[in-house]
């Protein structure tokens, strides 16, 4: 990753990701509506929503709140830029963690009982998915090692592979898919922040966010969606244009499955989320490590 590629990635990600993320959100809403027997909003509805949020009267509970959310946005964008510039995977993960932390602190700082519950649940969500995320980076290192002979944490290395990473890391891919539901805030794991305001303890972590601040939260979510789909793509792509096509199709399929899961499962309790994601993580990672030892 040179400085030039980083700057290009930063600009491209900053500009393009919200559009892609917003379109994905729009598609998501249409498909979800059809699954529920509704027509659904127009494709560009998420953009109209955010536009409206930005036009609203801008109020906060105190001035730090908006500051924290802004920092969260900045670090999400930075994490994405490092990822798409082909940078170090662990660096991406750790910067993203910082972004998540600022979002949590933004909610805590309001001292609203509802936002606090949301923030606590968000922490439990982080605790649930973080082992898988770290171990994904670790096994990424192992996977590039067995496929190309040169183990690395650099994401860009996938483009010099002859086969996609999923060949070496099938179980880890499954594990990532499992925790992706938490990261995308999809039901059954949308404990901290449901898309349906009337349901879960008002609106969880974003209870006290309105206007421009809430608009920023939406935009953060778009950036995150693109970044996480990038993680999925990382496992499917290899060094040819067919690889890129396969990765794009794979990302679309995975997201469709996420929508199906979102619409078909009721929200679970945190105990189930924590235990299931830890068990899935442990089983998938151990199986995959054994798999690498046996097959390669």
């Amino acid at each position: 990753m040179t400085i030039l590629t980083f700057i290009i990635a930063l600009v491209a990600f900053t500009v393009l990701a919200p559009f892609i993320g917003g379109l994905i959100a729009g598609t998501d809403r249409i498909i979800s509506a059809r699954l529920q027997g509704r027509v659904g909003p127009p494709l560009l509805q998420p953009f109209y929503d955010v536009q409206k949020l930005f036009a609203k009267d801008d109020s906060v509970t105190h001035s730090f709140q908006g500051f924290y959310v802004f920092l969260s946005l900045v670090f999400t964008v930075l994490a994405g830029a490092f990822f798409f510039a082909g940078g170090n995977f662990l660096l991406v993960i750790f910067i993203l963690m910082l972004a998540t932390l600022f979002f949590i602190v933004a909610a805590y700082s309001t001292r609203s009982p509802f936002a606090e519950i949301g923030a606590e649940r968000e922490i439990v969500q982080v605790m649930s998915y973080e082992p898988m995320v770290i171990l994904m980076a670790v096994t990424f290192f192992m996977g590039t090692g067995v496929l190309s002979g040169e183990a690395t944490f650099n994401v860009g290395a996938v483009f010099s592979l002859e086969q996609p990473l999923i060949v070496a890391l099938p179980f880890v891919f499954l594990g990532l898919f499992f925790i992706l539901t938490i990261k995308l805030r999809k039901s059954p794991f949308d404990l901290s922040f449901s898309h349906h305001a009337h349901q879960e303890l008002v609106k969880g972590i974003s209870t006290e966010m309105t206007g421009r601040t809430l608009g920023l939260v939406e935009i953060i979510h778009w950036y995150e969606t693109v970044l996480f789909l990038g993680w999925i793509g990382l496992f499917l792509v290899w060094g040819s244009w067919i690889g890129v096509v396969v990765a794009l199709v794979g990302m679309a399929v995975i997201y469709l499955i996420e929508i199906l899961i979102d619409n078909n499962f009721a929200r679970v309790k945190w105990q189930f989320m924590l235990i299931s994601s830890w068990v899935v993580t442990l089983v998938c990672v151990v199986l995959n490590m054994v798999f690498i030892q046996v097959v390669f």
Binding site: S63, S109, I123
Partner: protein, 645 residues
Amino acid sequence: MIIEPVLIIGLLLLMPLLAAGLLLVIRGNGGRKVVVVGFGVLIMLGTILLAVGYLVGDPWQGSFHYPLIDYCLLAIDVVIGLYILAKSIKYKKLLAGALAVAQMAGILAFEFLIAPGVSIASDLYIDGLSVIMALIIGIIGSGICIYALGYMKDHECHAREDDPTCKDRRPIFFALMFLFLAAMFAIVFFNNLAWLFCAWEITTVCSFALIGYTRTDEAIANSFRQIVMNQLGGLAFVIALILLGLQGILELDVVISHGNLGLLGLPIILLAFAGMTKAAQVPFQSWLLGAMVAPTPTSALLHSSTMVKAGVFMVIKLAPALGWNANGIAVMLIGGFTFLFCSAIAISQPNAKRVLAYSTVANLGLIVACAGVGTPEAVWAAIFLLIFHAVAKSLLFLCVGTAEHNIGSRDIEEMDNLFIRMPKLAMLMALGILTMFIAPFGMLISKWATIVSLVETGNAVLLIILAFGSAVTFMFWAKWLGKMLAVAGSQSNVETAVHRSEWSTIGLMAVLVIGLSVGFPFVSEMVVVPYLACIWNVTGLDVISFDNLLIMAIIVLAVVLSFLVFVWRSKKRTAPIYLSGVGLDFEERTYLNSLSQETKASQRNWYMDGWFSEQSMTPLANTCCIAVLVFGMTLSLLSLGGWSL
């Protein structure tokens, strides 16, 4: 300016001793202040002078052998044994007394029967690691002593309110603190293991006295728990001394350079065991938790710069002899389990000092695990974990201590809204917490290096432990941070009562935390990598690339600066929070409910008692670690008989 090494070591040993002697005699507040601040600053300058000369470069070793020193140190060993024996008779603690007798018998037998036959070439030793340790002891340790001036004044006042007749015991308190520093310097510089043992025992007995300082029943019980556990380590040390003496080796650097060969296997694990008891690794974590009854400066000193750091220093020293052998595997697993279980238990603790204690034990576990892995990359990580843990933890302890004296509680729930009540302190406490668990700050970068070193050695078990341990670490720090950073209402600022001595030390720690986080890539490049290159004979050590370290350093700077330049009074309209009804008092979170009755919304943090409670996790942790320890010791014993893995 480079000073003769023997001279600077002598200065660093004698200055704190002199200070301790003076503090014992001086009873006035003014005089004490002059001595503590004066000697504190002198010791800091002394360590900086040492760093100028020896931070980078080849290790130095030298002889300073006079029989008189041996006799004096032996006399000290015996006096310590007798002191513990006397105390254990007074308080009827048989086990402590028995261990003291066993230790005395062992050391006397060693000194008279074995030691005279062994020749020692170098008694003193300085390398990059000892200088880093000396800086930690000198700067952080002395800083804590200065902080204690203000803190102990309040402490004494509180004590007098409860019991007007109680005697002012501050002279002995400060004398012990400085004696502690002297013993720590000795541990760092002594290469002669018999000498090192004496310093080792002084730190044990000093912390015994400091933990029991308040003389409540709880304090005395906990001080005995500490002494028994550390005497076990001391006993292991004595046995190691005897075994090594029989083989004619009594210098630490020689032991290490021989590596883990047959007959040295057992002494090495015994020394590592001594280190792990001092570093409060499971199953010995309870002494450090018990140490929380002591005044906060004591806890800060024990946790951040001394005592436990002596333990990990020993294990890091032994790292070249560890690695993929029975000893190394035992050490890395004990460290790993300690990290995982203690991080998990920290979730269930509402008491801020106990959270800090569990986090200390957990992070020491990580350092021990890295040392056990025993590759240069892992030791790189261990050294940075050691440095950042020392500064961040002392910052946190001092902040919690000051908060406790001003808000009257060390319960995290009571720190709700601290951001309004003590804004500066809350900011600094937040800085300490961030440094402990999140990128781009020091501890997490060190953890990143740990991951790299583990994945390069293919250590799957520790990688999994580390991933889960990091996740639970996020949980307990983030919820504390959130609680503290809540902003509501306009409660009065109670920060004005904080002593200047407390501010100066807290400020110093904050500057160190930021400075080291920003300077991380340069410290690595200029100090740690050359040190490892020299000990391991490796060149071009590149754990985390310089670019990535630089990116993190820039982010640290950006986060800190953005807080500093952030405009407090933005023009945004502020609105009250939502409270399921007509809000009455947003600070108290009361509102009128649908029946027009006043209701109070209250919200406690999440402690997950059913999952991560002390009662359920501790036996599990103890079982795992004891099993590993027995495994390691057994294999080493077998290797004495020529059998090997």
